[in-house]
């Protein structure tokens, strides 16, 4: 074999290998989705969606309280985290002074890198212990800590993408800066900002670790946001590690529900953004 033939052979082999790598990576998603659909779709029924969990070992029962609990806590996190992230992002993009902006950005990055279990520990010391109570409020607070850096970074990014000409045109017409930002810049970047917010919410909806010692869990309906509550991710965890087959069945169903919610939200968000450039990573 000539040297050229050898090189051509190596070329073919290596390039095929990279194709195999891609195929592996992509097929993983389909494997996970397929497995969940296969195992979970048989278990999602009216019972699952509307009933409370039954005592251990009894068959049947559902996760209605977990579904509502997850929605409640994501709602609380959104109410706390989205405004902070949004206005913080507006500050960084429009009003920021150099030193302070750098500090804020750095701290937000830091917060983003905190492992979710450590955020749970922090929320326990700051909310649960003083309140003498596990609660959805604590869980929502923990989730909001994760939502803030994501929202802030994406808001800042998309505001920064708005072309200078738009701002300068508005200013030239005599509008004060705050009016320019509120009525021209933000609406222009709204699509991207909304996408960032939706992706952030999808991300925290699936988090389980911060809820372990903040919202704890509940066998029944939470009677208010100052009471512990069940949530889908925590239920999946407890049911998956239990020995009961019926609980496994329910864990698959919950997993399917959660994954569908997260994936649909992700796809919708990217579709809003208009495809092409991939949205926020990491």
């Amino acid at each position: 074999m000539t040297r050229l033939d050898y090189r051509k052979f190596v070329n073919l082999v290596m390039l095929t290998l990279t194709g195999v790598c891609t195929f592996t990576a992509v097929s993983l998603l389909f494997l996970i989705l397929g497995y969940l659909v296969w195992n979970g779709s048989r278990s999602i029924d009216w019972n699952f969606l509307t009933k409370l969990p039954l005592p251990t070992g009894e068959v049947g029962g559902g996760m209605a309280n977990a579904i509502v609990g997850s929605i409640t806590m994501v709602g609380i996190a959104a109410v706390i985290g989205l405004p902070i992230g949004f206005f913080g992002g507006v500050y960084l993009a429009e009003f920021g002074g150099r030193g302070f902006s750098f500090a804020v950005r750095y701290m937000a990055d830091l917060l983003n890198g905190v492992p979710s279990i450590v955020i749970g520990v922090f929320a326990w010391t700051v909310v649960v212990v003083p309140m003498h109570q596990f609660s959805s409020l604590a869980g929502g607070f923990a989730l909001s800590l994760m939502l803030v850096p994501i929202t802030m970074r994406s808001t800042e990014q998309f505001l920064g993408d708005v072309p200078r000409e738009l701002r300068e045109g508005a200013l030239a017409l005599g509008a004060p800066k705050w009016k320019v930002v509120a009525t021209v810049v933000v609406p222009a970047a709204m699509r991207g900002i909304l996408t960032g917010m939706i992706l952030g919410i999808a991300r925290i909806a699936g988090e389980s670790a911060p809820l372990l010692f903040t919202a704890l869990n509940n066998a029944f309906w939470a009677t208010g946001i100052t009471q512990p509550t069940a949530s889908l991710p925590v239920m999946i965890y407890t049911h998956a590690i239990a020995p009961y087959d019926d609980w496994h069945r329910q864990a698959w169903a919950a997993g399917l529900l959660l994954l569908c919610g997260v994936l649909i939200t992700n796809v919708a968000a990217r579709w809003i953004l208009g495809g092409g450039a991939s949205a926020q990573k990491a």
């Binding site: 891609t22 302070f100 804020v104 993408d161 800066k177 699936g206 994954l259 997260v262 990573k281």
Partner: protein, 325 residues
């Protein structure tokens, strides 16, 4: 100065402040500043809170905490080494598997695939990144673990059993299972960021290599990849930072054994897992503060790795021309 003059002066200044505030700009500035400051304060509060709560164990163990191998809640003796070992071992194992696959896929998607296919595949891979950790754990318990226990580990034992890494009882759960699951979770990040780095390499580099007679693969491996290597390293570090902090999926398959074993088949523990498992039952100030100190160690490790990652990714995107978002 007479008190009345001072008061009058202060009143004038205050009035000035409030009158300036009547303009929308100042209000907007103040409001958004306040929100930004909240973020700053929250993070500082978190770091300070962690530091203070871990006070008792810092006082008792000092630096020995980081190299102590004993984790004995009953005797009150705590050491971080088994958890640091487990965290680093599972993360490194994850990277050993996911970096070749990830970079390979990134090369395929940036160099070889037709644009439509590349975009579709990238989109699907990014969806993988959105899958919650607990679902990976759920999948792992019922697929990865039994497969490892019945086929994977016996196979490794038969072929590579002379190495200390592949000895001992084969349970399915343990370092190997955790490493495998983590590798699946880090692959999307490596693919996404490596692909961006590779695409930011200027076209002329490739074309020059081809003009000199290089095959596609040679131009990629000897010219493009080295050019983009900083970004690829950055993606590796980012994947590492993710893997280090992963909690749920690892907790479900790691085996919960706070000791150091050479074998990958053995059970172990990571910092995130021990926090998830033991925090609710940590009685006594010393136990709790030892756990929080572990959390602090993890926090510091992830800060350093994240910072390195961003520096590296930044370095490539500055070097590359053209390809802006």
């Amino acid at each position: 100065m007479a008190p009345s003059t001072i008061l009058a002066g202060t009143a004038r200044q205050t009035r000035g402040f409030w009158s300036r505030l009547r303009t929308g700009d100042e209000v907007a500035h103040l409001v958004t500043f306040a929100f930004a400051a909240i973020v700053l304060l929250m993070t500082i509060l978190l770091a300070v809170g962690l530091w203070k709560t871990s006070g008792p164990s810092q006082a008792k163990f000092g630096w020995k905490f980081l190299v102590g191998t004993n984790w004995d809640p009953v005797a009150g003796d705590f050491g971080a080494l088994p958890f640091i070992y487990g965290t680093i071992l599972t993360s490194v194992l994850a990277l050993v598997i996911s970096v070749p696959v990830g970079v390979g896929a990134a090369i395929f998607l940036s160099e070889l695939a037709p644009p439509k296919l590349a975009n579709a595949c990238t989109f699907l891979v990014e969806l993988l990144a959105a899958v919650p950790s607990v679902i990976y754990g759920l999948m792992a318990i019922f697929t990865v673990v039994p497969l490892l226990r019945q086929y994977g580990e016996p196979f490794l034992k038969r072929t590579l059993g002379f190495l200390p890494f592949f000895q001992g009882p084969m349970l399915g759960i343990g370092f190997l299972a955790a490493g495998l699951v983590l590798s699946i979770m880090t692959v999307p990040y490596i693919i996404a960021i490596s692909r961006e780095s590779l695409m930011s390499v200027p076209r002329d580099q490739r074309e020059a290599a081809m003009a000199l007679g290089a095959t596609r693969w040679e131009s990629t491996s000897q010219v493009v990849v080295p050019y983009a290597r900083l970004g690829i390293f950055g993606s590796v570090f980012l994947g590492l930072a993710r893997a280090l902090g992963e909690t749920m999926a690892v907790t479900m398959v790691i085996g919960n054994d706070p000791s150091i074993h050479a074998s990958l088949f053995a059970s172990g523990y990571t910092i995130a897992s021990v926090l998830a498992n033991e925090f609710t039952e940590a009685t006594g100030k010393l136990y709790q503060s030892s756990l929080v100190e572990l959390g602090l160690v993890l926090f510091l490790i992830t800060i350093i790795v994240n910072a390195l990652a961003r520096l590296l990714v930044l370095a490539t995107s500055r070097k590359g021309t053209a390809r802006t978002a």
